[in-house]
């Protein structure tokens, strides 16, 4: 009776797979068979497609319909196959021209009345479509702006199946409503000048931003740990175009694009609650494997408040992404790798009651319970954190002062300069941030000045510094040198870096 072919893209993580959607209509009892390992949402597609076709004024064939999604061995999930299936069905019945030129990829979920609903993961899907040589993509109107971010492809946005069919018949795109225009400039309403005092913590924040170091804030409740952390994206350099696409693609798959301006150059800030599970943290799920907080925070900041309250496994699951910059999640349906390069910021109270500061007068915790509280953070995790800062309550004078601290814009300028210095130094290397210098290189090409090395070797001799700690301190010293305009870290840089790492006796 009829045979037709359309194409679409399905996602495995962020990787697109080119899918051929074949429809065959043959004699026989009315029925609809969907082949090609569909998941639950995709199996329900036949009911949506059928209702959408009849409610769009097209006719439905009361024949034996077989839809095959190939490659057949690849498990497929999601509702974005509705549109390519519906179009192929209309083509197979002869209601649409049976040839689609140029090469077009269709994406979209149909509602029963025939209108097209937004789907997740349009950006990575369109990127993949371009890679597979598609010249044109047809997407739901609600995904238009997202699809348009991809260069080199014609985007046809349609509001409903009727619009899609009329475009294929006449080549005329019907009007549709474009929702909110995106703002391409990085903007963050949060500014560092909102924070009263906290000179030391601000300094640490800036150094961490220059070198991409992970941070640990300790301090009593209400001193501004969260405020400081939330403002880190505002002092980080804006994302580059390729980073923007990568971040937007992850948010598109995770379904969190609504919380973020499309194509925003502002690094993301993600703050999962401390009761979060390790699946929510690193990603997972039984159907489509979704990215977790570590990937949603890619190229940005992952902030975990009340870190010792986290279940131990949750924090330790961060070790793989911290080490490799990506997470690989394996499930029965396959394994998926998401990028996960983020700046980790942990915050904790100094003790369970939270009042241990200064001379610790208000604190009611026993020595033992304080030790047990902070011991919940495992050694291997703390080892990956370069900078630890005690956030003291602001003094009376700081609170009363009416001159605001430096604004984020000023600090960001310095961070960008510092990073440029480092990038020039690492021009021939495979890394570009101080926190990424490998240990071997720290002892050869990138060691500090003689006096600084002497100081650190002395600390090593006194067993106050471990070998790993030694490397960490050196990396922070490089960031300090970049910020202070030293060409090579001197003794003062090494001492400050050492204080950032070992300054907290609570851990010893």
């Amino acid at each position: 009776m009829g045979l037709a072919l359309t194409s679409t893209v399905s996602l495995t993580g962020l990787v697109g797979n080119f899918i051929d959607v074949e429809v065959d209509i043959s004699e026989g009892l009315p029925g609809f068979t969907l082949l090609g390992l569909p998941d639950a949402a995709l199996s329900e597609s036949k009911e949506r497609v059928r209702a959408a076709i009849t409610n769009s004024g097209e006719s439905w064939s009361n024949r034996k319909v077989t839809v095959s999604l190939s490659p057949a061995w690849l498990p497929k999930s999601g509702s974005s196959f509705d549109l390519p299936i519906a179009i192929a069905l209309l083509m197979a019945q002869g209601f649409l021209p049976n040839l689609i030129e140029p090469k077009t990829v269709f994406l979209g979920e149909l509602s029963l009345d025939g209108s097209l609903r937004a789907v997740r993961g349009v950006l990575p899907a369109v990127l993949a479509a371009v890679k597979f040589g598609a010249v044109r993509v047809m997407v739901p109107a609600a995904n238009y702006l997202e699809a348009r971010c991809v260069p080199g492809v014609e985007v046809i946005a349609v509001a409903n199946l009727r619009g899609a069919a009329s475009f294929l018949r006449t080549g005329v795109v019907e009007d549709f409503l474009i929702q909110n225009q995106p703002d391409l400039l990085p903007k963050s309403q949060l500014d560092l000048c909102d924070v009263a005092g906290q000179r030391v913590a601000r300094g640490a924040l800036e150094i961490a931003a220059i070198g991409g170091h992970h941070l640990f804030f300790i301090g009593p409740p209400g001193t501004g740990k969260t405020m400081l952390a939330e403002r880190i994206p505002s002092i980080l350099p804006p994302l580059s175009l390729s980073e923007i696409l990568e971040v937007t693609a992850i948010h598109s798959v995770a379904g969190t694009l609504a919380e973020r301006d499309l194509l925003s150059a502002l690094p993301p800030f993600i703050a999962p609650h401390h009761t979060t599970t390790s699946v929510a943290m690193i990603g997972g799920g039984s159907g489509a494997i979704k990215p977790g907080a570590t990937s949603i925070a890619h190229q940005g900041v992952l902030f975990i408040d009340e870190a010792p309250e986290c279940a131990r496994g949750v924090l330790d699951s961060l070790r793989q992404p911290l080490e490799s910059g990506s997470v690989t999640i394996s499930r029965a349906i396959g394994s998926v790798t998401y990028p996960a390069k983020f700046m980790l910021v942990l915050a904790a109270n100094p003790c369970p009651c939270g009042r241990f500061s200064g001379r610790g007068r208000g604190c009611t915790c026993s020595q033992q319970s304080i030790r047990r509280y902070l011991q919940r953070l495992s050694g291997p995790l703390l080892d990956r954190i370069d900078i630890r800062v005690f956030v003291e309550p602001p003094s009376r004078a700081e609170m009363a002062s009416d001159d605001l601290g430096e604004s984020s814009a000023v600090v960001r300028e310095r961070v960008i300069l510092g990073r440029e210095v480092a990038a020039r130094r690492f021009a021939d290397e495979t890394w570009n941030l101080n926190s990424q210098i490998p240990p071997g290189q720290l002892r050869k090409r990138y060691c500090a000045s003689k006096s600084a090395m002497n100081f650190l070797h002395l600390e090593l001799d006194k067993e106050r510094l471990s070998a790993r700690g030694f490397h960490k301190v050196l990396r922070v010293a490089w960031s300090l040198a970049d910020s202070r305009g030293h060409t090579i870290p001197d003794e003062s840089d090494a001492i400050t870096a050492y204080q950032y790492r070992e300054g907290m006796e609570l851990f010893h």
Binding site: E27, G28, L29, P30, N62
Partner: protein, 119 residues
């Protein structure tokens, strides 16, 4: 006979006439055993045994008539066809199962949607 049974009998009659017009020879009508009934059994112009299930409706309001044939019903048809072959010593001969949808909106006109080899 109830209203629907009259309609069904009319549909079967119309299909029989249609098949004879195509050169088929009707062997049995409403062949019935304990397990069910076959509406029409015919032998085609190419000498193949054909078992036909006829569905008759006055409109498409409740879906296409052939949608009423579920997987279980199709399976039962298959079993009945085999039973007929055994009882009539025709075991091993070529056969197929067809379905016909008859829409009779009024006394004056009708429409037959005939589908061969549906199983």
């Amino acid at each position: 006979m109830g209203k629907n049974q009259i309609l069904g009998a009319r549909g079967e009659e119309l299909v029989a006439v249609y098949l004879e017009g195509r050169g088929y020879q009707i062997l049995e009508r409403n062949w019935r055993i304990k397990d069910g009934e076959i509406d029409l059994i015919a032998i085609s112009d190419t000498n193949i045994l054909v078992f036909i299930e006829v569905k008759t409706r006055t409109s498409n309001a409740f879906g296409h008539p052939l949608e009423a044939i579920t997987k279980e019903k199709a399976h039962r048809l298959q079993k009945l066809a085999l039973a007929w072959l055994v009882l009539n010593h025709r075991w091993g001969s070529d056969y197929r199962v067809d379905c016909a949808a008859v829409i009779i909106p009024s006394d004056l006109n009708y429409e037959i949607d005939y589908r061969e080899a549906v199983l």
